[in-house]
Symmetry: C2
Amino acid sequence: MVLTVEEVTDKSLAALRNAGVPEQHAQTQLSLLLEAELRGVASHGLLRLPRVIERIRNGVCDPGTVGKGVWAMPSLYRIEGNHGLGPVVALDAIAKISERARDTGVAVAAIRGCDHLGMLAWYAERVARQGQILIALTISEALVHPWGGSQAMLGTNPIAIGVPAVPEPFVLDMATSLVSMGKIHDHANRSVPIPEGWAVDQDGRPTTDAKAAKHGAIAPFGGAKGYGLGLGFELLVASLTGSALGRDVRGTLDSEHHCNKGDVFIVLEPQEQSAQIIGQFMDALRASPAAEPGNPVRVPGDRARSKRDSSLQQQITLAPAVWAQIQDMARNDRAQSNTKTGEKINAT
Amino acid sequence: MVLTVEEVTDKSLAALRNAGVPEQHAQTQLSLLLEAELRGVASHGLLRLPRVIERIRNGVCDPGTVGKGVWAMPSLYRIEGNHGLGPVVALDAIAKISERARDTGVAVAAIRGCDHLGMLAWYAERVARQGQILIALTISEALVHPWGGSQAMLGTNPIAIGVPAVPEPFVLDMATSLVSMGKIHDHANRSVPIPEGWAVDQDGRPTTDAKAAKHGAIAPFGGAKGYGLGLGFELLVASLTGSALGRDVRGTLDSEHHCNKGDVFIVLEPQEQSAQIIGQFMDALRASPAAEPGNPVRVPGDRARSKRDSSLQQQITLAPAVWAQIQDMARNDRAQSNTKTGEKINAT
């Protein structure tokens, strides 16, 4: 389905309103999903809207709250998410720590129990454009097996790093899993085998059968190092936020459980003038000798930004089923609606 | 050469004293190198002592300074390293930010221009044992090619994460390069080819010839993701510290240049009680189903700790050439000595 940004915006906001989401929170949630869509990160795009709404209707997400934050210490802001929408709670927390970091040099938000944050690049880019560095960490339900292990014990545990640069900030956003569970589902839907090494089945045996992999575990990226990193991020988040860990994490993929994961944002003040130097170095990287002629070296974020620039005036392509769900949720009022998203959207 | 810890300590301290290193600084520098040796990380062990001393003798390292630190903001400590010994400057900075973080929740040290930090696990373990979280980042001379590139543009850019846990802290310490340059040198010395994908030669062509790889560039670990991460760390460090970047970085491998790289330490206050929970989760990981029966899942740091425990009462094995250099440097006084370490110690 090829649609205009306006069409998608109208229906999506109506769907969120129908679910009782306050106007400003609906705008925030949609803006995040739309940005993922425009950057070509469909796994974190509108695909996720029906689940967001289903969670609200099931009473496991409270769309009206920004959580309850306290300055536990002068540079450490602890937030009970109170099951609020991920981007709503996170943006409020980031605004507070960004302001504080301008006075203290660094400030941290340790959030527990808000819903899925979505694409971390969105937060990193906002903060970097305001002239500050952001490190963002979040965790998910256990989908990844330890290196040398065969059972899902860790989340896909992404990191985002935003660094101010001229003319465009540096934005890295990557999971510590080798691939996303969404990619495995996509292979299963198309009955295409997955490459060796991507996943194990539910009995922990290496598999190239995408359907079997759906019930198993994904490999960490980069072998033992990627495993160490994903584990390090999960422990760091749990240590700072008191969130659940490993197989106890709930609510990032389902519609039935309160979300008990944690998120950490660290905002830091860069050196003056550094944005110019960082921008020049990014250009030097792009101009450095390529491994394959005609295929220049990229800096993380380049592809998403060029995709976004070409999408902005244009159209969004959605799976017909997703668009049908959104239209349905936009049409019905809360009392009538009983839409089911059916299959888990495992696109973490 | 199999030696006792005492023998190695005596000669090494004598060598450092001969080079004019104050007693306490010599103890700090040696304690770091010895700990790497005892953990089985020979690339960051006594092998590096002759270069440390050579740099002092050449006047590019000042063993007497802890650098000049200022609290640029209440939680941000900026340090001009003034060419001090890496562990001496870093430990002083970490002590300051650890104390500050107890009041503020988080504090950062942004260091520019001290010498090589050595094994980051040493710092992470100290801080975690004191009950605080540490994130440590440092950069090195350009040895790693971008993903899709063919020239060394980035350092090996390691990260360490220390998280308090009961009974033993979590300690991750890993480079973002696929292998160390030391490993490539080791293959070259033994005339053994390196596996495909490890490195390119000086013309940017993939090579399995270890001698050719010495003059080329190492691959990032984990493909595009590891490249993104190593780059993100380098930009974050440069943005916070104002350090040199990429091919402009000097002094981490040679004996002729002042070191102009940057280092970042972030100390954070964990939630109360989290150490117990983290420790239990680490045990759950170790007990989770293994991919190969009899080869249990490990947590980063396990192998180093078990190696350390078995080494502690025992002996250290050094390459005869390294021990000869240390003995020579211990014997001669500063005026007489003119030892050359010859070949670059590329063990980053």
